[in-house]
Symmetry: C2
Subunit: 225 residues, 2 copies
Amino acid sequence: MERHFERELEDLNKALLMMGGRSETLVLKSVEALRRLDTELAAEIFAEDKIIDRMELDIDERCLRLLALQQPMAKDLRLITGALKICNDLERVGDHAVNIAGSVVRLAGKPLLKPLIDIPRMASLANDMLHEALDAFVRRDAETARRICMRDDAVDQLNDQIFRELVTFMVEDPHTITRAMELILVARNLERVADLATNIAEEVVFIAEARVIKHHAEEATERPA
Amino acid sequence: MERHFERELEDLNKALLMMGGRSETLVLKSVEALRRLDTELAAEIFAEDKIIDRMELDIDERCLRLLALQQPMAKDLRLITGALKICNDLERVGDHAVNIAGSVVRLAGKPLLKPLIDIPRMASLANDMLHEALDAFVRRDAETARRICMRDDAVDQLNDQIFRELVTFMVEDPHTITRAMELILVARNLERVADLATNIAEEVVFIAEARVIKHHAEEATERPA
């Protein structure tokens, strides 16, 4: 029984990592589709997101089965409830890639407003955070996870910068408005991917150390008002 | 022990409903702050969201304690894992109210672009969905919950309509661009509130019937490809 449980936990880990890998790939693919304004690539994203959706359902089911049959305690319990949350976060990462693919479809056939520089940079920052959060999850590495949370600000700043630049385009030439709007939405989706990576990193800290850091709960307990 | 468990589940229910009520109020307040461009009301929203954040942490903790100590099965297990998800959804509802309050702060002092008609309508649709989802949760009413999910499309349509109208404003008069952008963002936040209400309703169906309806999993099993 005990060894069977160990193996099931190992399978749960693997399933989450596989889902994480697919979510990462989907975000990169969506930005690549944007760069090339490639609607075929966008169509692939819509299809692949459905696989991610199914993975979420599968992981949910595994977690409920483990909770019901194994009555896990302490760290194992935190891993399983953490997996429930992380798979939901990853599913939402997939949704953001789909939103970006939607922008690609609407932008296709029109000239790109400007060479994309900041958006790919933002995508790469957000995706690195996601990748490292999953890596920290594998190694139950709370220290790395904490550092990931601190990188969210850089992505937010880039998002603000992109927003301001695109508003300038719109003000100078109203013909650019619909195209600029789409790019603003793309940047917001990438910002949300970084937020979700932060959520995952917070969950890793909780799994590893049983300490809650979300909503700055840690600071709140360390420095009581 | 058994009666103690019953009481703890009842307390969990109440905590979720209290959190739900606060989240609803915050959304309504954010749209009222927008209508009046009232930055004091916006400041209240920032403060009250922190209470909602703490409620999430409290509910998370209750759920983990119940899972660890009571080893619940079947419906009780679904309730507790459902509560973990619903409190996360409600916390995100609070975040959307905060985002709207942020738009209020940025819009304050400038004349409103136009009388707000569609945004309050959208807010009321989204909030009704949220209220009814919580009501369905109390009554474990899967039928009502299923109907709520179907109303998400109306909110999405309203969002598209608001988007198109505001883009027209921007194209006609570039001076309106920053203000119109804020209203587009407000509408998107309200659309997300309706999505979260849908998530909660899907969770209610799962708690009540052990059937997964998210990602159209139900249709998928009923009509195999």
